[in-house]
């Protein structure tokens, strides 16, 4: 009675790949299970051997992408020194990931949030971990006096998260190009130095 190693069966991999490929050109709703199966070269029933739901398939694909993304983030932010540098790195990496992997971005920013079930999925816990990373950098920035002591950590976190999303939202939706470097340095400059003009007029 051997407990077979948790191998990822070829059918399962094919289904996820097929689905990812379809998501590159169509939205979730208009992709049918028949289409996913046909494109993967398996039967429709097999989808439900590995995924409870069509939505579950979506979450699993998102989770797969997010796992790679989170690893990248953690690796890169380890090297940064100041709070400023770390936040710029994380913003840059986020925007870069979103623009280089439009499927990932489209799923995360446009397709999953409409279902309550998502917020109980493992994909969402990855998002929470990502958000926590940002919050942690902010907290340390306050501690070492790099940031103003009365900074609202949670609000700053939300401003940064929102800025990242909206900086690439239009580009992701309409498949346009984005200058990642300019956007990330622009965001971090606004948030750090503010936009108020202090020069004498």
């Amino acid at each position: 009675m051997k407990s077979r190693p948790n191998t990822n069966p070829p059918g399962r991999k094919k289904i996820m790949a097929s689905f990812s490929q379809l998501m590159a050109t169509k939205d979730f709703q208009s992709i049918t299970t028949a289409e996913i199966a046909g494109n993967a070269g398996v039967t429709e029933g097999l989808i439900y051997k590995y995924f409870t739901d069509k939505k579950d398939l979506l979450y699993q694909v998102l989770n797969q992408h997010f796992t790679a993304f989170q690893a990248l983030i953690e690796e890169r932010t380890a090297t940064g020194k100041t709070c400023f540098e770390k936040l710029e790195t994380i913003i840059f990496a986020s925007l870069e990931s979103y623009t280089q992997n439009r499927v990932f971005a489209r799923i995360l920013l446009l397709e999953v949030r409409n279902t309550p079930m998502y917020f109980e999925s493992c994909a969402y816990s990855m998002v929470k971990k990502y958000a926590a990373t940002i919050l942690d950098i902010i907290s340390r920035g306050i501690e070492n006096k790099e940031l103003k002591p009365d900074t609202d950590r949670f609000l700053l976190q939300k401003v940064i998260l929102g800025a990242i999303e909206h900086a690439c939202l239009k580009q992701v939706i309409f498949n346009r190009e984005l200058d990642v470097t300019a956007a990330s340095s622009g965001i971090i400059n606004i948030v750090f130095y503010g936009v108020k003009n202090n020069e004498c007029q």
Copy 2:
């Protein structure tokens, strides 16, 4: 042959009201056309006399809410004097609307963006108008030297839009309370003055 006035038939109104009511407790996908009709006291077929689609119904309801919202925004921003005040007003009004009208917020922030069709709807042109209002305030702020001359207007617009959204996203999703005053003044302070600590340490 009298051209009857463009009256809004009772059936149409009942359908929109019924749908709005259902959206308060359920997500779009799990609301059925039979449910909408039953709750409205009409037959299913009538929905398709007034709306091309279930999605079209969603957009029309959103548009209705947004029209009221945009009127509010325009009325209030007229009174503000400085760029700072105007932006604070618009952020406050947005957050207030989102928290007071959760259905509107849920539709706008979570339910519509997943379909390409939305971006051709009249509801989306309202959103563009709203975003243009913010951009206009920023542009004037740069002109009259209230904002730094090298401010990236479009990026600042995105930071503000993103901040508004993320400031209330969690509250909208999980139906929690939000301190609108604290959030809006917090956002505007971060964006105007920045979070960098300039005090001598």
